[in-house]
């Protein structure tokens, strides 16, 4: 046992005079464990920096993302390189637009896709998994079989099919990614619910006549939060990759909107013309964002998931 310093210093006699010792909740414990993980803390800082870049970066941009720099657009390879003097910090893209502003815009869309997808996963996946796990029996079997069936469908293809049928738009992309993202979450939540539902406090709630849905919402879901947070964080990079994959193929986000995947695709198709920065800047932000999410997720798992300790 580690006692707070104050108590140890005050000694046994003094301890009684002090205010009651502050209890340690699961969350404060987790915060302490998290802050001991260097990679996770650094990643969190990086992630916050990237979020600031994505949502406030435009205030530092000298050019807007729609403005075309006519003076330089004729010869981007020699005059459009990154430079602080003319305000194109990241250079120009293939149409003569400011790549800094474009990268800000792309990072924002990529982050949004990840966050929205993870949001859907948290809401739908938690409710679905908790319901399935709590009721058990036949309901559970049918509900999980449905998840099994949905999971064994190659979703990237169906998603592209949907995007083609109903038009390529960000909304459709959000809907499509929302449709897949909750599957894994529901399985994890169900597994956890199975262990929680046999605890005494649930039994007590059942005995006092609390309705099943209320038990799920008030007693089970709060106890799932730790694991849900961890897997939501670990889910985000996967969703960002999915979106970028589709945008890389040109089927996702459409001009003038953009995402990191679309920017990487553009940069990759232009790289033989000596404009390598068009690939490197989006690539850098993409890779760094993913790494940051992985490490934050790992850190959260170590901090919150009691199983792995």
């Amino acid at each position: 046992m580690v006692y707070p310093d104050k108590v140890v210093m005050a000694g046994v006699a003094g301890a009684a005079l002090l205010a009651p010792v502050k209890g340690r909740s699961l969350w404060s414990d987790a915060a302490r464990r998290y802050s001991q993980n260097k990679a996770a803390v650094v990643s969190l800082v990086v992630l916050i920096a990237i979020c600031l870049f994505a949502f406030f970066g435009n205030f530092f941009a000298a050019w807007s993302n729609e403005e075309i720099d006519w003076a330089r657009m004729g010869n981007i390879a020699s005059t459009g390189a990154p430079s602080f003097e003319n305000g194109h910090y990241f250079g120009l893209d293939d149409l003569g637009r400011d790549l800094f502003a474009r990268t800000v815009q792309g990072t924002r869309i990529s982050l949004l896709v990840g966050l929205v997808g993870a949001g859907v996963a948290v809401v739908v996946g938690t409710l679905y998994g908790a319901t399935s796990g709590y009721f058990g029996g036949r309901t559970d079997q049918i509900m999980m079989r449905i998840v099994d069936i949905l999971m064994s469908i190659p979703f990237m293809f169906v998603l592209i099919l949907m995007l083609v049928m109903f038009g390529r738009s960000i909304t459709m992309l959000f809907i499509g990614i929302g449709l897949i993202s909750w599957l894994d979450m529901s399985r994890i939540v169900r597994g956890q619910t199975l262990t929680i539902k046999n605890k005494e406090f649930v039994e007590a709630a059942v005995a006092t006549g609390v309705r099943p849905m209320r038990i799920i919402m008030r007693h089970i879901v709060p106890n799932l939060l730790g694991i849900v947070v961890v897997y939501a964080t670990l889910l985000i990079p996967g969703l960002i990759i999915t979106e970028s994959f589709i945008s890389f193929l040109g089927l996702g986000v459409q001009e003038p909107a953009t995402s990191l995947g679309a920017l990487i695709s553009k940069g990759a198709s232009q790289m033989q013309y000596g404009v390598i920065w068009q690939l490197l800047f989006p690539l850098f932000f993409f890779v760094v964002t993913l790494f940051a999410f992985f490490f934050v997720g790992d850190g959260l798992r170590d901090a919150l998931d009691p199983k792995d300790r």
Binding site: R145, D148, I149, S152, I153, P154, M156, F157, V158, I160, L161, M162, L163, V164, M165, F166, G167, P237, I241, S244, F245, F248, L249, G250, L251, G261, I264, S265, G267, A268, M271, Q272, I276, L279, L283, F286, V287, L290, F291, F294
Partner: protein, 307 residues
């Protein structure tokens, strides 16, 4: 065992049906048809074309014909875009290519991944372990569409060793980059899984017994540890297969290898519904069959699995 296979089939077949029905329903309800063009066709011509492709029939009629044709004749219908080719022709042209580099990628991912994982586990906390872990963490953030341009940049533009794309009948120079791009992230995952399961197995009692008896290390690894440590890898192969097929789309598009991924994306741009559906269904069925095989293998190898 037999009843286990039958039960798994009982799940697999509805899954395939759901896939077919859903994608067919998507196509049926999509706004705008394949024959919508800038200049509208005269109504009589349009009616004739729709009748030729059977699109004037009710939904259930269309779908039953469609399924029957696939099952009985492997006929996915005609392509809406290229009037002289059927979907089966297109799959026939692209699939061997996908299969070739897919096979090599799969093989390399498994062999290199397992080797890397085993070595890392045996030499835990040495530079080789850190290298293996480093690679597997790094490869996670390098999906194929990031890796592919980087490979071209390195091998084609800077070093000039390999052609930047094309297929050329599958000569090895044309295979190298697609295979690396496709296999790296799965190799990394396999290495990570192998490492952790190997570490777990090596602490088991029967390994200690074998060591106490004086069995040489290579024999312990080959004969005792590896078989058990491979089980988690085996269960990863199912999802890896799906992801690899998905990844082949990027490889096809980026390296112009001419596999089915290229046809899929092209038909996505052309709104060539029948080709898209054909490829989706084919890949769905392959995925489900592959998962089934992995599950049966797993149950066969691991005596602890109830079936």
């Amino acid at each position: 065992m037999f009843s286990f296979v039958v039960r798994r089939l009982a799940v697999a077949i509805p899954t395939i049906l759901v896939l077919v029905i859903v994608s067919f329903a998507l196509m049926f309800s999509a706004p705008g048809g394949p024959f919508n063009s800038e200049r509208p066709l005269p109504p009589a011509v349009l009616a004739n074309i729709t009748a030729k492709y059977g699109l004037d029939q009710p939904y259930w009629r269309q779908i039953t014909t469609y399924i029957w044709n696939i099952v009985a004749h492997f006929d996915f219908g005609p392509s809406f875009k290229y009037k002289d080719r059927s979907v089966a022709d297109i799959i026939g042209a692209g699939f061997p290519v996908t299969l070739t580099y897919g096979f090599w990628s799969f093989l390399i991912a498994v062999i290199v991944g397992v080797a890397l994982g085993v070595v890392a586990a045996i030499r835990q906390n040495t530079w080789i372990d850190y290298l293996a872990v480093g690679i597997s963490v790094g490869a996670q953030a390098l999906p194929n569409f990031v890796l592919a341009p980087m490979l071209v940049l390195l091998f084609t533009l800077w070093l000039g060793w390999l052609p930047g794309g094309g297929w050329n009948g599958g000569e090895w120079q044309y295979l190298v980059m697609p295979v690396i791009a496709l296999s790296t992230s799965y190799m990394a995952s396999i290495a990570r899984i192998t490492r952790s399961s190997m570490l777990e197995v090596m602490t088991a009692g029967f390994i200690r017994t074998a060591r106490a008896k004086g069995v040489p290390m290579h024999r312990i690894i080959w004969k005792h540890a590896l078989k058990l440590a491979m089980l988690p890898v085996l269960s990863f192969l199912g999802p890896a297969f799906v992801l690899m097929i998905t990844g082949s789309v990027v490889v096809d598009v980026y390296f112009s290898t001419g596999g089915i991924g290229l046809y899929f994306v092209n038909s996505a741009f052309n709104r060539d519904y029948s080709v898209m559906m054909g490829i989706t269904i084919l890949i769905g069925v392959l995925t489900i069959v592959f998962n089934l095989v992995v599950d049966v293998l797993y149950a066969w190898i691991d005596p602890k699995i109830r079936y």
